[in-house]
Subunit: 111 residues, 2 copies
DNA sequence: ACCGCCTATCGTATATCGACGATTTACAGT
DNA sequence: ACTGTAAATCGTCGATATACGATAGGCGGT
């Protein structure tokens, strides 16, 4: 049921203009927007960007939230594709997926 | 209870970089992201952008949703500031608030 | 003044989010 | 093999989102 879905989203990646107010990519777009539609997740994204990478524990320390809650937000971010986690020794190293972040920026910029 | 809240949000409007992964503006940002975190609302925004302005009835016709549901989404968009509605004769003319849209674009671009 | 159209709001049901503590799983080191 | 740490998952709860039909309000035209 988890399905992580790290599959690269194609929507808008070719740079076309998306002029149609169609259903086109609205779902993928909204999913990405959803990922940053919470203050805690925005903080996490900024944190990851400022440090390039981060283990979960560091994130927990920076936020006034329980570990399990942070883990939930990380899961949402991973499912959106914005964040990816690599097992790096004993811990898990989270980092921003620049490709997806760029896609999000492009989608918003093309609004 | 409606309160439209067209108040200009200051966050990021001066163009500073927002390097801190702080709580700064995370709430305002997430609120804007929230506004487009639903396929139907993205469609509405695109529709409004492609036509410059639009009455509610036209939007309802383009979407597979009940009129009351569309009205709800419009309310959310209005509360976020992204959309504003002006009473134009018998109907209500909705349009994008370019200032807020630009702010959203800036916030995302500065991620 | 009445009627019909357009939009907003109310009330309601269902689904999902957001938060937490408790538990389980994975891995490094002893 | 055992232990301890790190992270994910489970189970639960209240709050909120989403959707709809029904109803209320505003405005033009007859």
């Amino acid at each position: 049921m988890v399905k992580t879905k790290a599959k690269a989203v194609e929507c808008g990646s070719t740079g076309e203009k998306l002029t149609l107010p169609d259903v086109t990519c609205a779902k993928e777009f909204s999913k990405l927007a959803w990922a940053i539609a919470h203050p805690a997740r925005i903080r996490i994204v900024r944190l990851l960007l400022s440090r390039k990478a981060c283990v979960c524990g560091e994130i927990v320390e920076e936020m006034p939230l329980a570990q399990s809650t942070v883990s939930q937000h990380l899961k949402i971010l991973k499912e959106s594709g914005l964040v990816q986690g690599e097992i790096d020794g004993p811990r898990i190293c989270y980092c921003i997926n620049q490709k997806v972040l760029k896609q999000l920026k492009r989608l918003v910029a093309n609004l």
